[in-house]
Symmetry: C2
Subunit: 182 residues, 2 copies
């Protein structure tokens, strides 16, 4: 960030009065430009004993398998965002049961929220951000070719919890070295 | 948003190629400026049979009682953000047990996440954003003077769940008319 989006003048990074963190502050109009973590909402869409995964057509992790998920948009609920991403990436009709896994990833300032969902039919196909969309049984899951640790952990929880058909909500933190702040 | 924070030229609101939503896009450098929901992380700090509440010194809802909570910052976990806010607003030493309530509020593009926590001592006092900080038993809770619906709901869940000492994570959505987008 170099310029104030309200008045167009230069911003500098400093600690505003009454604050304790470096922020981008406009030298002219004094507007403080806060930057906050973003939410990624997604689904774990299940059909009978299979889970739907998408093969990523975009970076990062192009060619790796993921659950349908993406940045939550202003004006939508977390569950609606999860369903929207399931349509955008897999053109899949799903219904949500419950919030299932939540991951806090401070090094990239992201919070993931996955909902358990059921596929309502098999009329799914790859969206523009997917190379392929497929159903996988537990033994077919491409564990070494999953896109992100949060996908791996969500699937591991699911196949374990499925044995008892009890799915407690799980919050966990994935800690890596902080990325250099922009 | 009127100016690009990267190059300082004017932005206009339009749907970028390959997108389906109006975004602020720079007319000069084509940078797309995404705006996304923010997370508010907080604690439900408990000491014996009492809950700690803060009386808000700032708008909105100055003079009303709230659980310590505030915007999650880049680079911190959701739980760490909840603890930080508990220090900032109540100078309270607490330890977190578990994630407890999650509220999606699409009309203000916010997601609240409250953690159950125990107060470690009684050396708390009002921070700069609080007029007062106090412990309340269930019968003392100022139900008509709570700051936000999410506080009311979290406390109601807590006193109910406390009877069985079982605290399932609860996700819910609070739906109101959408605010006019900025």
């Amino acid at each position: 960030m170099k310029y104030c989006h309200d008045c167009g003048n230069a911003v500098t990074k400093r600690i505003p009065d009454g604050d304790n963190r470096l922020r981008f502050v406009c030298d002219q109009c004094e507007m403080i430009h806060y930057q906050n973590p973003r939410i990624i909402a997604g689904c774990l869409p299940v059909f009978e004993d299979k889970v739907l995964l998408c093969n990523r057509a975009i970076e990062p992790r192009r060619g790796f398998w993921t659950l349908p998920a993406g940045f939550l948009e202003n004006g939508e609920t977390t569950a609606d965002g999860a369903l929207r991403e399931t349509v955008e990436e897999a053109n899949a009709n799903a219904e949500i049961h419950e919030l299932y896994t939540i991951f806090s990833l401070p090094h990239i300032s992201q919070v993931y929220m996955f909902f358990r969902a059921s596929l309502l039919d098999l009329d799914f196909y790859a969206g523009i951000e997917s190379l392929d969309v497929k159903l996988f049984t537990e033994s077919e899951i491409p564990w070494d070719n999953l896109a992100f640790p949060v996908i791996n952990e969500t699937l591991q929880h699911y196949f374990k919890d499925r044995k008892d058909d009890v799915y407690p909500v799980r919050y966990s933190e994935i800690i890596r070295p902080l990325r250099k702040p922009s």
